[in-house]
């Protein structure tokens, strides 16, 4: 009799514990689906590394979302490509190949990009010029050769660059909106959308993501980072800005938070460059000197339009600090951080408000 009673007490306790667990489990599953953070990395778009961060119930669901964005990025990648031809689409290279020959009928997204790039040209007093292809391609060749053969790396001759610079007038890029065509009036000129294409594509893809009803997404295209909402728990996305000094033990020089719709972009001399006689020559070419700018190790921007961020970071990298500060501080919602080669930093008026530990 007594043993039965003991067993009963134990049984009741076990029943209570498991009933509670069951009940709580039910409560939780009813309240909200369990969203997990996922990331996807692609290496085949815009010749760089693409990362998508999002939240979904299952890996499959996230993969669908990521594929949706990837498809759009591939689309823009084809359109804004200056090195490769694609059978099914006329792109920037097609326009370049037809310079001085004929107007090319193109996708409206190319016209939009060129229009946007022209606006960036005006806003930056010509520091962002997509018509500089002739100059940039010379540097591209020397850089490619110099990276492959570091011992015999050389610089382009200034005469060669100056000759090419005669064919960089953005007025010669003629858009016919009604016909849907673009024509380069100067046969020697070519377009290079390196300073605007990626950022503009990110901006458009994020707009598309919003139209598709996606939320809590972070898209990074070669470090051109743009966010929708924030983390699923309501806090902001936290981003690290890479230290341009690759030999330093500190991988990051700053941590920033971005709010819904904000983006972060860095321009610097530490990613694409080559070395001649111990001097570093990066891929950002100053239109005034026709040589790579080297005042700063990097410039990082926070703003709310990814296309502008990309273009402005190139422009500001080419400016002196005074010009840059005046440019940034005169614009609403644009903040910047300049990093010198010795690691010292300068902030615009409100950049520090985004910094977190």
């Amino acid at each position: 009799m007594k043993k039965w009673k003991n067993a009963l007490i134990a049984a009741v306790a076990i029943v209570v514990v498991s009933a509670v667990a069951l009940y709580l489990n039910q409560l939780k599953t009813n309240r909200q689906p369990k969203l997990t953070k996922y990331t996807a990395t692609f290496l085949d778009i815009f010749d760089t590394r693409t990362e998508i961060l999002g939240y979904a119930e299952t890996k499959e669901e996230f993969s669908e979302q990521a594929a949706l964005l990837k498809e759009r990025l591939v689309f823009y990648n084809k359109l804004y490509d200056i090195y490769n031809d694609y059978e099914d689409v006329a792109n920037i290279k097609t326009i370049n190949d037809n310079a001085g020959i004929a107007p090319v009928s193109v996708d409206p997204e190319i016209i939009e990009l060129i229009d946007f790039s022209k606006r960036m040209y005006e806003e930056t007093d010509g520091r962002v010029n997509i018509a500089m292809g002739a100059v940039l391609s010379i540097w591209h060749e020397y850089r490619e050769y110099g990276s492959e053969n570091p011992e015999s790396a050389t610089l382009p001759k200034i005469e060669e660059l100056q000759e090419a610079a005669k064919h960089t007038n953005i007025e010669d890029v003629i858009i016919d909106r009604d016909a849907g065509t673009v024509f380069l009036a100067d046969p020697e000129m070519s377009l290079d959308v390196g300073s605007t294409g990626k950022g503009y594509a990110v901006q458009r893809v994020m707009e598309y993501a919003r139209e598709q009803g996606l939320s809590h997404v972070l898209l990074s295209l070669g470090g051109n980072i743009s966010g929708i909402d924030g983390r699923i728990d309501g806090t902001n996305f936290k981003l690290a800005i890479q230290n341009p000094d690759l030999n330093s033990n500190e991988e990051y020089i700053e941590m920033v938070e971005i709010t819904d719709g904000q983006c972060v972009v860095s321009s610097g001399d530490y990613q694409r460059f080559y070395v001649v006689d111990g001097e570093v020559y990066c891929h950002i070419i100053n239109p005034d000197t026709l040589f790579p700018a080297n005042t700063f190790a990097a410039v990082s921007l926070i703003t709310d339009d990814s296309g502008e961020a990309d273009a402005f970071s190139t422009a500001i990298y080419n400016m002196t600090l005074e010009e840059g500060l005046a440019f940034v501080n005169s614009r609403e919602g644009l903040e910047a951080m300049w990093v010198y080669h010795d690691g010292s930093k300068v902030y615009s008026d409100h950049f520090e408000e985004s910094i977190v530990e």
Partner: protein
């Protein structure tokens, strides 16, 4: 049930309530819902030794519900309930075995209170990693169990004199 017993029970509920409040003010912040030192166990132990298992059970349930509604939410109350049920069952069985004193019983109560809550947390949160807190909580439960046991022994002696 005589008046004296009723008033004692009322007093004990009040005491359990106050002790829970004290505990609420000093939460052990280790990320487990409801993981506490278990001060209110003092009252349950005293009731178990001065009155009966039935009375102690009633006290325990009333305390969990009252405190749950006052300070916590429903899910917190459920965690408490699981801890209290397991702890109570173990204490009753241990007392019946008659090998341990009040202190030993109270230590078991304290330890199993935390074990019960962890078990539920593992089932609900569907993560086994919480089990890493278990040793820590077992030690906390043991220490508080010893202290509560000694105090409970002293109180029991005096309350018994009062009741008899």
């Amino acid at each position: 049930m005589n008046t004296k017993k009723i008033s004692y029970l009322g007093l004990m509920i009040a005491l359990a309530f106050v002790l829970s409040y004290v505990e609420f003010l000093l939460p052990l912040n280790i990320g487990i819902p409801g993981a506490k030192i278990g001060l209110a166990n003092l009252v349950i132990v005293v009731a178990l030794y001065t009155f009966s298992a039935k009375t102690a059970l009633a006290l325990s349930v009333v305390r969990v519900i009252l405190v749950g509604f006052t300070f916590g939410n429903l899910s917190m109350m459920m965690y408490s309930m699981a801890g209290a049920a397991l702890s109570f069952a173990v204490m009753v069985l241990a007392k019946k075995l008659n090998r341990l004193s009040v202190t030993g019983v109270s230590v078991l109560g304290g330890v199993f209170h935390n074990v019960g809550q962890i078990l539920v947390a593992i089932l609900v949160l569907e993560t086994g990693s919480i089990i890493y807190y278990l040793p820590f909580l077992v030690i906390v439960g043991t220490i508080s169990g010893v202290v509560i046991g000694i105090v409970a022994a002293m109180i029991t002696k005096r309350v018994r004199m009062g009741v008899d």
